[in-house]
């Protein structure tokens, strides 16, 4: 009996000791490198719960929480801030869902990530709370938004909605004319191409050297997943036409808007794209390709360049190759993003990279919220807008196990392991996600977190730049160049050539019942079909004929009316921004 007691005691002790590390882990996994009193949040006595509809998503997947980030952030918010989220996502188009919610009144107190026009619908029907009286309780938000907050005002000067995912564009690249860098090196050229025409000549040489991929498939210079519109946007950017908010206008010094169809530049780049198609640089199946097929064609080496949005070349290119090839991966094997300019256009006048500070999505507090709930929501929104709030909600709390922590001298230090950008897919994203990064974002400043007139992020790790809640780039603090050799290759011929253009003032609102909306849709439709005809025309003459037909059609549909509408919208935005209205 005594032996049994001793054995039981030893077993219990062993079990207790073995459980200690787990217990210790549980305790420390919620402890970070910031004290609660430094959060800038007054912890309420009772738990505050926010009921939020946040758009399209799989609720089962969200609840399953495979990366554990939701559970982590739920625990952290409860423990350190006494806040909880009832975060609702639903399968299906958010606009359709919101329309149904409007009909049956089944929306919660907060709706975020909603399209701007849906926010306006809710406001027009009196379903949104007037935030104007609460602005003085949101000093962080008003400070960081600055004059851009004025653009949220309605005709009466009141604010009912807030932007989400706002801020300056942190990206280095926008639209580009990319090339397989290792194949470009084989050509032995001293200087990288600078114009679309030069890109065509370089790509022809590369395709001649590499006519098929390893699987024997014919290679091409580029493809598309949006009916060829990426070629149009890239060309518009190279020639200095604004696309963000408007659809391809060049604005003269005297403020006159000119649509690309009514310019010689438009004809010139149309002929260039047609030449690309006729000379075999464009994948002939470009009209039937979706995003997955697009990236797989880059991954398998069938597409050797990129004309359009920069990150397509990354997700299908070196990000995949680096993971697949591991230590054998050669950094020069990537599709480099290259900025080009149209003939007669300076690099400084291109619009390849643009920035819309207020973005396209909004957040509202609905009439379902009680006065007490509104006060709590406003308080949290202001905390979210604070520098520390943005960082915690974006990256998860600062701690040793996470991608960032706060050192004793107050630096917001990123983990060394994430400095290897080729390993982002396993060293950065899963760790951040697992610590609750971007699980809950109501009106977050998702873009560039930098030190400027509106924000103070001087404490961010000096080894990284262009930090946003989505991404970051390691740099050499001495000269500001990218620390990673691969990134320097990717962006060496972009960052040095162009900077982002602020296109916020071009944001234009269209009402469903306004005839101008029909005109806009008609023209967009015509351009979609007409642009495909321009690309696939059999000869240059046929291309010019298709261009002229499209131009005449659009002009007869009311292009001048639409132009006047965009002009008036811009002027109005400018006045509102400057507080003149």
């Amino acid at each position: 009996m005594r032996k049994k007691s001793i054995a039981a005691l030893m077993l219990a002790t062993a079990m207790t000791i073995s459980a200690m590390p787990a217990l210790a882990e549980v305790i420390t996994s919620q402890d970070g490198t910031i004290a609660d009193e430094d959060l800038g949040w007054e912890k309420p006595d009772e738990t505050v719960t926010f009921h939020v509809y946040a758009g399209d998503g799989d609720p089962e997947e969200f609840a399953a929480d495979e990366d554990g980030g939701k559970a982590f952030m739920d625990n952290w918010l409860l423990e350190h801030m006494n806040v909880a989220f009832d975060w609702q996502v639903m399968v299906g188009d958010m606009t359709e869902r919101l329309n149904l919610m409007l009909t049956d009144g089944s929306y919660p107190e907060i709706i975020t990530w909603m399209p701007d026009d849906m926010a306006n619908k809710f406001i027009a029907q009196g379903k949104a709370v007037d935030l104007t009286p609460y602005l003085e309780k949101m000093p962080n938000l008003t400070r960081r938004l600055g004059n851009y907050l004025n653009l949220m005002k309605n005709e009466d000067g009141d604010i009912y909605k807030l932007p989400i995912n706002w801020g300056f564009n942190p990206n280095v690249a926008g639209q580009d004319f990319g090339v397989r860098y290792d194949y470009w090196l084989e050509l032995g050229k001293e200087k990288m191409y600078e114009t679309p025409a030069e890109w065509i000549e370089v790509m022809k040489e590369i395709l001649a050297n590499h006519p098929t991929n390893e699987a024997g498939q014919t290679t091409y210079g580029c493809t598309s997943d949006n009916q060829g519109k990426n070629f149009l946007y890239a060309m518009l950017g190279a020639y200095g036409f604004v696309t963000s908010g408007v659809n391809g206008y060049k604005i003269d010094d005297d403020g006159t808007y000119k649509h690309w169809l009514n310019t010689e530049d438009g004809l010139e780049f149309s002929k260039l794209v047609n030449q690309m198609f006729r000379e075999g640089l464009i994948d002939p199946d470009f009209q039937s390709v979706d995003y997955e097929t697009y990236t797989s064609k880059e991954t398998n080496g069938q597409v050797l360049g990129n004309v359009g949005t920069w990150w397509y070349a990354w997700t299908g290119g070196h990000q995949k190759w680096a993971l697949d090839e591991g230590e054998n991966y050669n950094k020069e094997k990537r599709i480099a993003n290259v900025a080009v300019h149209g003939d007669g256009v300076d690099f400084a006048d291109t619009t390849l990279l643009t920035a819309n500070f207020i973005g396209s999505y909004r957040m509202i507090i609905t009439d379902k919220a009680s006065e007490e709930q509104i006060e709590n929501i406003v308080k949290f929104l202001d905390w979210e807008a604070s520098e520390i709030g943005t960082f915690i909600l974006g990256f998860g709390p600062p701690m040793e196990e996470n991608v960032w922590k706060i050192t004793e001298d107050g630096t917001w230090l990123f983990d060394d392991v994430i400095m290897d950008v080729d390993r982002k897919e396993d060293s950065y994203h899963p760790v951040k996600d697992g610590h609750g990064g971007l699980k809950y974002d109501m009106a977050i400043a998702g873009q560039w977190l930098r030190d400027d007139d509106l924000s103070d992020f001087t404490q961010i790790d000096p080894r990284v730049d262009r930090v946003s809640v989505y991404d970051y780039w390691p740099i050499n603090p001495e000269d500001g160049s990218f620390a990673d050799e691969g990134i320097n290759i990717s962006w060496g011929d972009y960052a040095s050539r162009v900077e982002a253009k602020d296109t916020t003032m071009y944001t234009t609102v269209f009402d469903a019942y306004d005839p101008i909306t029909d005109i806009k849709t008609n023209i967009e439709d015509a351009v979609t079909a007409g642009w495909a005809e321009i690309i696939t025309a059999d000869s240059e003459e046929a291309c010019v004929a298709a261009f002229e037909t499209l131009r005449d059609d659009c002009n007869s549909m009311g292009l001048d009316e639409l132009t006047a509408y965009y002009e008036a919208s811009y002027e109005k935005n400018l006045k509102i921004f400057n507080g003149e209205e």
């Binding site: 849906m118 379903k127 060829g228 009209q287 469903a512 849709t521 008609n522």
Partner: protein
Amino acid sequence: MAFGRKHAVVSQEEASRYVKYEKKKGALAKSLRTQKEIWIISFLALAWVILFCYVPMAGNIIAFYQWFPGQSLANSKFVGLDNFTRFFKLPAFKTVMRNTLVISGLSLTVGFMAPIIFALLLNEIQNRLFKKVVQTISYLPYFVSWVVVASIMLFLLGTEGAINQFLMWIGFLDKPINYLSRADMFWGILTTANIWKGLGWSAIIYISAITGVDQELYQAGAVDGLGRFGKVWHITIPGILPTIVVLFILGIGGILNAGFEQQLLIGTASTQKVYEVIDTYVYKYGIQQGNYTFGTAVGLMKSIFGFFLVWLTNYISGKVLDLRIF
């Protein structure tokens, strides 16, 4: 002397009409009395039809207003027929109508005949096992979604698709054809895809009708010297004619429904001018713009037009063939 309708002196014609009326009046009550079990069984289905098919029709009223979801009708602006006339005024209206009528027309002609011919051919197969296998395989595509069909078509018809590979291999083509971007081929491709997908399923009802034809008629036909084709032409087709007519009458009501998913999935920018039909147009100008009243107006218009066509076809069929649904 007439001293009350019931006891008035009436003509024979009037009397027979009155008798018919009395018969009709009593028929429902009699049915409820003598077939109450069937009525009880049918009650739920009838209630479902009334609740979900007829009651929502009242919602068509928004077609005459400028209405937003969540807004009451009383607070909405009455616009009369504006939503209807907007459809006719949109620039691509003529192209949209042409595409709709062509695609529907192909469906009502080629697409309608194909299952009949298939059923007739299937009926001629003597080997029962083979016949069953063919029939089963034929209606499997019906259960495949259009998303999968679009992928199959890309696999077959893409520039590097199976058909181009084969034709180039046998020397028929020098360079591949991008079938899915050819506007001149779109209607044929779409009709073929529709037939492939619906052939077997649509043939089921004709196969069932063929089995209902009296076998003695075939024996009599053989005695009269009819060959295989003669039997089909003179016995089988007349035997299933009522089925054909009924399905045609019902089918013509959907002449303005020329598809939606197929166009969005298979269509490209190059084929937009031939694939844009009423439903895709309304989706773009109605649903995507959040203008639900426009979508309702066009839907209502389609329904009224379709109903009129069904009535007209039923009337003509009654006059010419003495076959009618109602």
